[in-house]
Subunit: 499 residues, 2 copies
């Protein structure tokens, strides 16, 4: 294997299969269009395009999919689905989607579960288009779940293999042999949770606790809540709904960013593994600390005069929304104090648990960083005391620690470079942005969160950025979502030749 | 050794010795005061204070100075000298120094070679005070040189030991046995370079190329250029002098941030080691790339209309000033385009070569990060190809790579936390700052550079920040200058007890 060049044909073959399969999710907006008396043509065009290209690619012979072929396939898949996702938007061509760059931005934002939108006027678009964005994100959540379980863990990308160790997938594997079966189980959990979230939202409506919640809205938000994705067919995002809905969605987001192996155990009646998970406690700790901090800052802000329940709700919702990288808004947090906005900004770097639909750096990596740095400090004080770093009962290998540090550092470096490029590009086109707009937009794109601060705030739009900036953002979303390494590996000359 | 508690008495004993020695540098402003007919009292008060406290501390019995005692001593020394450095400023009490926080800020900025100032009106202060600031910085440069050679390398702080390996101090050690002798040699190099810089500046004046350059100015700037420290007795910094002076100072800054072991070899007629140093080439590459980038951005900026020599000079000067962490200004780069300012901001994270007077993360660490991440990408593509990371001919151990990653990441995290605290504190006192002001001020403090952007720009002042913010900055300067670990180690409970 290592003595051959990368097998591009096999990778293209798999890509072709994936593109063919896109017919299934694309059937949803066709049905919605028919139900609402809208034109299904944009989705039929996309179906035609993905079938033609997919079938053409499948003609390539499939020989082997090893590490390098997996990296290539993953990179191409996320790019390819983004393009297919963009086709109906551009064909429909209403409002901002008359621009192909805007369509591509929205497609990439969809499949990467980022949730950043260029839409300015939600009423200008069809129900089919609004639902397609939701479906695309649900697909993105599923994709990343399979990616984390079946691909990244095998390729040992920067501690991704620990996701299994920590949560003892070994046990799951004993019950259900093979990675493929684990992936299927987690997909089932994903499906069940989405269905459950839909039912809860519908039940709240039937109980009179969510008057604004239509069946369309219930499905639409369930699709992007469990996926920690963040698109909403409503301009006010979850702020359009009642407090009960906001509390429920807070829970869905937190669940969506919880390790799915633990959720599988929980659904099977085994709550012990979740309770015992050190990463889960760390994740809850970050959510709790962030919420308390925001509550304190909102209370201290004389311009913010809500009652205690509202304060607690918005603080909990927004911290969960950012930490889980969902990106929904329950209120326009862009109007909060600079300190509160900075806390949310820092929360962008967290992410939820590994092995979930979450994006960003993830709590597992931060836990390893924290524990190993604390270990190093202790070793500095007592050089002869050599201690291993443990997460739960598992020892984390020193190579893994190094990889986790490297991953986190490289992520921060790319984020900083992205910020500078956004500032420079905005200045170039004569429409300067503030440093905070650039910082938060770069972080929001690269960590697949969605909203930023300033013009791209929760109730704003990314349409105002220069076309070149939006293309840079497409790149950031793509590289960030598939955990950097698969794309960066493609840049090494040795990837393309024999070792 | 490891079975006992930390020996606080021994650490205090060494601190006492250091404080006693401060009498020597404090004699300089006394002489300046006498020469200019100013009052020497503030400096005599400081001499008295440091002698009394130093002599009291020396009464503690000195038993052993091992790793933990070294960390404690280093932390206490930089804090202690900052306080002693502040005494004359506060006693003199002119202008901004009527505030003890301001005096402490300036003292810490001095000894840490940061070069950030709270001074608003340079004419309001005595020549003695202005020279004392310079002397304090020169002392800070010497201190860090000794720290890097004799202490941090021995304690293996985050790759600091590589400074020796890379530059083959082993050879030097062969010639001159013992760390102490190496330290003495490097101190001699430091002294010679400072003297050389003084003579060059005086020569430029005598040749008519530097009409503004007095003997006082020549000494003052030589003291803080080789120390990559950045204080100037002039409000316009090096912008007060002729182009010839600015080019010369550019060279001094670059030399000051070059590994002193290599400079020692160079002064001994051996240029080969400098030429062969991979880190030196990397360092020059960063300087060159940064300069080209700034030149391009200045040319592209319609508001910047200087001739080619001026453009090249300011670009070279400011990039060198920031990369070497000196912090001088040849012009008000605060008025440059947002893109150019962002490039300078990113340059703050570089620093010069390990084993020099430079601050920030340093080129050695970035070189190791770059090479090892590139190695990791190649290994991702070809898992069976295990390759060692080399700097020059030396293999960098995997533990060292991990430490370097950890150090760099923790530095970035502290910088981000510092930024948020500055934003929150400014908002608290009702005097909000922009995110870019906070970011650049936090980076400038923690990486000991000096100027930032906005109110604390090169021709601005840090006086406008809230008192609490200034105390936070004192903390950032302190922790950053002694490379984080010595202070953070003190926070672990095991530091204070038996292992
Ligand atoms: K998202
Ligand atoms: K400096």
């Amino acid at each position: 294997m290592a003595l051959t060049t990368v097998d591009v044909r096999s990778s293209l073959n798999v890509l072709g299969r994936i593109l063919q399969w896109l017919v299934v999710p694309l059937a949803v907006p066709v049905l919605v269009a028919l139900a609402y008396g809208e034109s299904p043509v944009p989705y039929l065009v996309a179906i035609g395009a993905t079938l033609v290209v997919g079938t053409a690619l499948v003609q390539f012979e499939r020989d082997r999919i090893h590490d390098r072929e997996a990296f290539l396939t993953v990179s191409l898949a996320w790019l390819g689905i983004a393009v297919v996702g963009a086709i109906p938007l551009y064909v429909e061509g209403t409002g901002v989607f008359a621009s192909p760059v805007n369509a591509l931005f929205e497609g990439m934002s969809g499949i990467t579960t980022t949730g950043a939108t260029v839409i300015r006027d939600f009423d200008a678009h069809t129900q089919a288009l609004l639902m397609w964005r939701q479906v695309l994100q649900w697909l993105g959540g599923l994709g990343v779940l399979l990616l984390a379980t079946a691909v990244l863990s095998r390729l040992s990308v920067a501690g991704a293999q620990l996701m299994e160790t920590e949560t003892r997938t070994k046990d799951v594997t004993k019950l259900t042999p093979g990675i493929e079966d684990t992936a299927k189980l987690l997909a089932l959990v994903y499906l069940l949770l989405t269905a459950g979230a839909t039912l809860v939202l519908l039940a709240l409506h039937l109980l009179g606790l969510a008057p604004e919640m239509t069946a369309f809205d219930a499905v639409a938000h369930a699709l992007t809540a469990i996926a920690t994705a963040g698109f909403s067919p409503r301009a006010e995002s979850v702020g359009a709904f009642s407090p009960a809905v906001q509390w429920a969605v807070t829970l869905f987001m937190i669940v969506g960013a919880t390790n799915f192996v633990l959720l599988y155990a929980l659904l099977g009646g085994n709550a012990t593994r979740l309770r015992r998970s050190e990463e889960f406690r760390f994740y809850l700790g970050i959510l709790g600390a962030g919420t308390l901090l925001i509550v304190g800052l909102l209370i201290a802000d004389p311009r913010f005069t809500a009652d205690p329940e509202t304060t607690a709700r918005h603080a909990t919702f927004q911290v969960a929304s950012i930490v889980t990288t969902t990106g929904y808004a329950s209120t326009d947090f862009n109007t909060w104090s600079a300190a509160a906005k900075n806390v949310l900004f820092v929360a962008m770097f967290s992410g939820g648990m590994a092995g979930s639909t979450t994006c960003s750096i993830k709590t597992l990596r931060w836990l390893i960083v924290t524990k190993s740095f604390w270990r190093d400090l202790n070793v500095s004080a007592h050089p002869r005391s050599v201690r291993a770093v443990r997460v739960g009962r598992e020892v984390v290998g020193e190579d893994t620690i190094r990889d986790v540090y490297a991953y986190t550092l490289v992520a921060l470096v790319i984020f900083i470079v992205g910020t500078v490029l956004l500032v420079a590009d905005a200045e170039r086109v004569g429409d300067p942005i503030t440093e905070f707009e650039a910082l938060s937009a770069a972080a929001s794109m690269f960590f697949n969160i969605g909203p930023a601060f300033g013009q791209a705030g929760p109730y704003g739009t990314y349409d105002g950025f220069a076309r070149t900036s939006k293309l840079l953002m497409v790149l950031l979303m793509w590289v960030g979502r598939i955990e950097i390494i698969p794309v960066m590996v493609l840049l090494t000359p040795t990837f393309w030749r024999r070792p």
